[in-house]
C-alpha cells in the first residue's frame, strides 16, 4: 500500500495494556500551569526507565476552579505504580509550583463503564505534607485537601480516576536523510497533538533510540533497535531498505484504542507528505507480547 507515494508496510504496531489517568493542573495563568505540567510530565518517556509515561494532552475545556488548566495523561503498568508515581510527581512538581491546584481530570471516555475504573488516593496521602495543619473540604461528592504552603494553600483532589489504557502504539518513519525524517516526524507530531486522549511521551513527541527486547549483554533487558540503525547496516540483518539513511519513531500512549488509531492515522498521513520519506513501518514483537495490534494498512483505510 502507498500513501502519498510512500510505502506503508503491511505490518502492525504492538501495544500493551497499561493504566491511564488524566490529571488537570490549574494555575493563575497559562504560564504557571504550563510550568507545573511540564515539570510533572518531565522525565516520563518510557515506563521501563522512568516508571511512568506522561505528557501534556492539551488545555482543559472547563476546569473545576475556572482558571486556566492543562490536562496531563499518565500511564503506568499498574494501579499501584500509578499511585506511587503520581504522589511523587504531583508532590514534587505541581505542589511546588506557585498558585497551582490539581484535580482529577476524570475519564469521560469511559462513561458508562464505571466498573472498569479504579481510584488512586493522591491528595489523601500528599496531605501529610501539611504537618497536621492540612484540612479537607468536601464539595459536591469530591473531597479536596487544602495543604498550607507559603503562598497560601495547595488544593489537590483526594482521588484520581484510573482506567485500563494503551501504551506503546507506534510507527517508524524511514527517510533518505535525518533531516527529512525529522521534518516528517515534526509534521506528524503537530497533527497528532490535535487528538485528545493521547500523548506522545518522548521529547518533542519523537524518539530516535528505538529499542529491541534483549541485548548481547546479559544484564540488559533492552537495547538499541539494531535492525533500524543505519550505521551498522551490513553488520547484521538490517530492515532498512536501500536509500534509507535515518529512522525516527513516534510512540503513542492513549486512553482508548480508537484514540491511538486516530492519532496514528493523522500522524502517518502528515509524515508521508514530507519529501524524502520512503517508508512507514511499525514496531512489534510478532504479536506475542502486546494485546493491542494496530495494523497500519487498516488504520489508513
Amino acid at each position: 500500500m502507498y500513501l502519498n507515494g510512500v510505502e506503508i508496510e503491511e505490518t502492525f504496531a504492538e501495544a500493551f495494556t497499561m493504566r491511564g489517568t488524566r490529571v488537570t493542573v490549574t494555575a493563575v495563568n497559562e504560564r504557571w500551569a504550563r510550568y507545573a505540567a511540564l515539570a510533572a510530565t518531565g522525565f516520563a518517556t518510557s515506563v521501563i526507565g522512568c516508571g511512568v509515561e506522561a505528557g501534556i494532552e492539551g488545555p482543559t475545556a472547563s476546569t473545576p476552579d475556572g482558571r486556566f488548566g492543562l490536562d496531563c495523561l499518565f500511564f503506568a503498568f499498574s494501579k499501584e505504580d500509578m499511585e506511587k508515581h503520581l504522589i511523587k510527581r504531583i508532590g514534587q512538581a505541581i505542589m511546588t509550583t506557585p498558585t497551582s491546584a490539581c484535580f482529577d481530570g476524570e475519564l469521560p471516555e469511559f462513561q458508562g463503564q464505571g466498573d472498569t475504573l479504579n481510584k488512586v488516593n493522591i491528595g489523601g496521602k500528599l496531605r501529610f505534607f501539611g504537618d497536621s495543619y492540612q484540612a479537607s473540604k468536601v464539595i459536591g461528592n469530591q473531597r479536596y485537601w487544602r495543604i498550607p504552603v507559603m503562598d497560601g494553600e495547595f488544593l489537590v483532589q483526594e482521588e484520581f480516576t484510573v482506567a485500563k489504557a494503551i501504551g506503546g502504539g507506534n510507527f517508524l518513519i524511514l527517510a533518505e536523510s535525518a533531516e527529512a525524517a525529522l521534518l516528517a516526524a515534526e509534521a506528524a507530531v503537530e497533527e497528532m497533538r490535535t487528538i485528545r486522549g493521547v500523548i506522545l511521551p518522548f521529547p518533542g513527541g519523537v524518539v530516535r533510540s528505538g529499542s529491541q527486547v534483549g541485548s548481547n549483554y546479559k544484564f540488559l533487558s533492552a537495547s538499541t533497535n539494531t535492525a533500524y540503525c543505519p550505521t551498522i547496516r551490513g553488520r547484521l540483518d538490517s530492515l532498512l531498505p536501500d536509500g534509507v539513511n535515518a529512522v525516527l519513531e513516534i510512540v503513542i500512549d492513549g486512553l482508548t484504542f480508537e484514540a491511538v488509531s486516530r492519532a496514528m492515522q493523522v500522524g502517518i498521513n502528515a509524515a508521508t507528505q514530507v519529501p524524502g520519506v520512503q517508508r512507514i513501518t511499525a514496531g512489534n514483537y510478532g504479536g506475542r507480547l502486546g494485546k493491542h495490534h494496530f495494523h497500519l494498512q487498516e488504520i489508513l483505510i
Binding site: 473545576p64 476552579d65 475556572g66 482558571r67 491546584a101 484540612a135 473540604k137 468536601v138 464539595i139 459536591g140 479536596y144 487544602r146 497560601g152 494553600e153 495547595f154 488544593l155
Partner: protein, 294 residues
C-alpha cells in the same frame, strides 16, 4: 413510568401532626386508598393521611418543563422509579415531613413544621415557603432547598447528641434562626439572608455560608470546619487573624452553589477573604472566612 403523587391539604389540624411516614419511598407504587390509609399521629391520637389530604396520582412526563430543577438533576440519578411527591397547602402544623428519606423528590408547596428533613439520608426536599426549627437535624445526605426562611437549629444535633448533620446540603433562600449548624460534622448549609446568633456553634466539620448579617458569637466552640461570612462581623476574641488570600476551594464551592440555584453575586466569584482561625479554646482548627466583596 414515573408517577407524581400529590397530597392536597384539606384540613389544618388543631394540634401538630407527626408526619414522618410521608416521604417518596412510602408512597411509591401505592394506590390512592393505600396512601390515604397511611398512619399519622395527631397529638396522642392516631390519624390517617386521608383525614387531612386529598390524594392524587398522575403519570409524570419527565421532560414536561424542558429544564428540570438543578437540585433534582444533581441528586436523583438512579432514583427514577420513585414517585415524585408533592404536598400542597400550609403544612406548618405537620412535623417531620421527609424525615429519614433516603431517595426521591419531595416538593412542599407551602410552609412546614419542625424537623422537616431531619435524619435525611438522600434525595431532594424542596420547601417553597418557610420551615420551622430543626430543619435537616442529623441529616446524613441529600439536598434540602428552602425558598423562604427557616427556624432555629438547622442541621444541628438534638439535645444530648454530639454530632449534627454529617452530610448533604441545605440551601436557604431567606433568613435562618439561631444555632445554625450547631455541632455539624460535614455537609453544607448556605443562607442567602441573615441568620441568628451563634451560627456554627461547636462545629466539627463542614461548611456554613451566610450572605446576610449573622448574629453574635459566630463559630463559638467550633473545633473544625468553615464559616463563610459575606458581611463584616466582629468575632469572638478566641478567633485570630491569619491572612488575606484567595481561597482555592472557593471557586469550586461557588460553582456548586450556582449550579444548585443558590443566588450569589457575580462579583464574589473571584474575591479574597480574611481568614481567622478559632475557636482557640477548642484547638483553633476551625476557620471563619470573611469575604471582601463589599
Amino acid at each position: 413510568m414515573k408517577t407524581q403523587v400529590t397530597l392536597v391539604l384539606k384540613k389544618i389540624p388543631s394540634v401538630p401532626v407527626e408526619a414522618e411516614s410521608i416521604n417518596p419511598e412510602n408512597v411509591t407504587e401505592k394506590g390512592i386508598q393505600e396512601i390515604e390509609s397511611m398512619l399519622l399521629w395527631c397529638g396522642n391520637r392516631q390519624a390517617r393521611v386521608g383525614d387531612y389530604f386529598d390524594v392524587e396520582i398522575a403519570s409524570l412526563e419527565e421532560t414536561k418543563n424542558g429544564v428540570a430543577d438543578p437540585v433534582f438533576n444533581s441528586s436523583n440519578k438512579g432514583q427514577k422509579n420513585l414517585a415524585k411527591l408533592v404536598l400542597q397547602g400550609d403544612l406548618s402544623k405537620f412535623k417531620r415531613l421527609g424525615q429519614g428519606m433516603a431517595a426521591g423528590e419531595m416538593v412542599i408547596q407551602g410552609s412546614v413544621g419542625f424537623h422537616a428533613g431531619a435524619l435525611m439520608r438522600g434525595g431532594t426536599l424542596v420547601i417553597q415557603e418557610n420551615a420551622a426549627d430543626w430543619l435537616g437535624a442529623h441529616m446524613e445526605g441529600g439536598h434540602i432547598r428552602v425558598k423562604g426562611s427557616v427556624g432555629h437549629f438547622v442541621g444541628s444535633a438534638y439535645r444530648g447528641k454530639t454530632k449534627g448533620m454529617t452530610g448533604g446540603t441545605i440551601l436557604i433562600g431567606g433568613n435562618a434562626g439561631q444555632m445554625l449548624g450547631a455541632r455539624m460534622a460535614r455537609g453544607l448549609i448556605a443562607v442567602e439572608g441573615d441568620c441568628g446568633d451563634v451560627p456554627g456553634f461547636g462545629m466539627m466539620a463542614g461548611t456554613i455560608l451566610i450572605q446576610g448579617t449573622p448574629g453574635i458569637r459566630v463559630g463559638a466552640k467550633m473545633h473544625r470546619g468553615t464559616v463563610i461570612l459575606f458581611q463584616p462581623k466582629v468575632l469572638l476574641p478566641t478567633f485570630y487573624y491569619n491572612c488575606t488570600y484567595k481561597v482555592p476551594f472557593w471557586s469550586l464551592l461557588y460553582n456548586q452553589l450556582i449550579r444548585e440555584g443558590f443566588s450569589l453575586p457575580a462579583s464574589s466569584q473571584d474575591v479574597s477573604f480574611r481568614r481567622y482561625s478559632g475557636d482557640a479554646n477548642e484547638g483553633g482548627k476551625g476557620e471563619i472566612l470573611i469575604c471582601l466583596c463589599h
